[in-house]
Subunit: 286 residues, 2 copies
């Protein structure tokens, strides 16, 4: 039976790539501060990077800032990714980076917006409201979610690094270490919730130690990992800490490293190859 | 110096009301599943409830589901609230219920979308990414945020009710009780972060005991409290547990109780009066 992650793994095999290409049309990176420029920015990246992209990840914020026009552009960008998929004969999943999270009846409307109106395959969600806020997004196993677990920003420590225990539980600790961080607890929950093979985790690539802890708590899940490059994460350490035993299970998200160079196709190809090389040396396939 | 909450308190005084009117154009409540019907639905409520509304709270999800058209309608609804404010000679704040939360550079784009493009006064945010994800929204003290603290849905217990401690801290407990819930910890953080008088908390009205714990952790903050009525929260218990010592500090959010009746103006007036009566009896003003 097909699921979101079986589609993703098919694509990963087709392009031998764990690269996720972020589409973040920051206004300072555009020719003009207009929705039309945002479209042009994204289409250039989609065309250049498609052969090497395991997935594309447009971030809703950079489209919303243009209001109604931005939403039209976001939909056009997703259609352009579909067209590239057709051309390549391989479906490239679209992960809408929207970090939504609301009570169930509202979550349903967000799910219809992301999967119905926009036609995305997957969405990033904030898990703070609990399982029932996620349910409307995972009903259809062909659609997927990545739950925020440990983000790559400095402020992520404010809450995500809290040490937690459950009330009425007696034993504090279900992790292999003497304490359990909030982000680890969420990883364990997600591992348990993933009965349809369509739940993954957002885990920043900036902290390899953290990646290793999350991998221990969620041995089967796919990670979406931003933070390599501009934010300072080291590719080798990140892959070593985060890859699953099968050498997969991790999408390395890159935006500015590809968007801000003269030849984005070459940058994408080189990144794909760097990942492949490290992946190979770690899993002994090469 | 004017701040978001000084504007809100002015409005609360002008209309003697703690009522926040939620604008949630759920498709099943509309004549037709179209953006035009969503607009009609909202304008009816805005016109009817404006004299009794301390604030209006449109939920972004129910507009996003209509894509670009929905965003146009959301902007029109906010403009209609501005027009009612003009007519009444009293500024009615607009709280965009969007529950956003992203790293700082992205959060900036969301802030520009909510406050710039849409012209809202305030936004609900998910605090899971920490202080730096909130900063872009609170730079301008005339704009405000309500951080999710304890939500009204059943799944809220999955994470929000975890017991937390801080690593490297020695003492686990800064609350008056023998343990500290995650939602209480967030309340304490928000109380400390509120240096510009523009941070409040979302605390469901469904659990009075919870409201009391949050009030103890954040004695000065405004709460936005959904959950009275359809979701089962009792108005009297909620106000008793959540009001500040000055008899303010709480917006009671109501959507369906007003939207689904034949005479929404009367429903809003009656709710305003019920709140006022309870508020009076609690603070001894009446």
């Amino acid at each position: 039976m097909e699921t979101f992650f079986s589609f993703l793994e098919k694509r990963v095999d087709d392009c031998s790539s764990l690269l996720c290409v972020g589409l973040d049309p920051h206004i300072p990176d555009l020719k003009e501060p207009t929705a039309a420029s945002a479209l042009e920015f994204c289409l250039r990246l989609v065309k250049a990077a498609a052969p090497y992209a395991a997935a594309f990840k447009p971030n809703a914020a950079f489209f919303e800032v243009f209001g109604a026009e931005g939403w039209t552009v976001l939909k056009q960008v997703i259609l352009a990714i579909r067209a590239e998929s057709e051309r390549l004969g391989s479906h490239i999943p679209v992960i809408l980076d929207a970090k939504r999270g609301d009570i169930a009846s509202t979550a349903e409307a967000y799910a219809n917006s992301a999967f119905g109106y926009l036609g995305a395959d997957c969405i990033t969600l904030n898990p703070y409201l609990g399982k029932d806020s996620i349910e409307p997004f995972i009903q259809d196993q062909e659609k997927g979610v990545f739950l925020l677990c440990k983000t790559s920003n400095p402020g992520s420590s404010d809450l995500q690094d809290l040490i937690v225990e459950k009330k009425d539980n007696g034993k504090t600790n279900t992790a292999p270490s003497p304490f359990l961080f909030l982000y680890e607890y969420i990883a364990g929950l997600a591992q348990g919730w993933n009965t349809r093979n369509n739940i993954g985790l957002v885990v920043g690539a900036t902290y390899p130690e953290t990646l290793a802890r999350v991998r221990a708590a969620a041995p089967d899940l796919w990670f979406l990992s931003p933070g390599v490059g501009i934010q300072g994460g080291d590719l080798g350490s990140a892959l070593k800490a985060g890859l699953r035993r099968d050498g997969k299970g991790m999408l390395i998200n890159v935006s500015r490293l590809i968007a801000r160079v003269d030849d984005p196709r070459r940058a994408a190809a080189e990144l794909r190859d760097s990942i492949l090389e490290i992946q190979g040396s770690l899993t002994g396939k090469r």
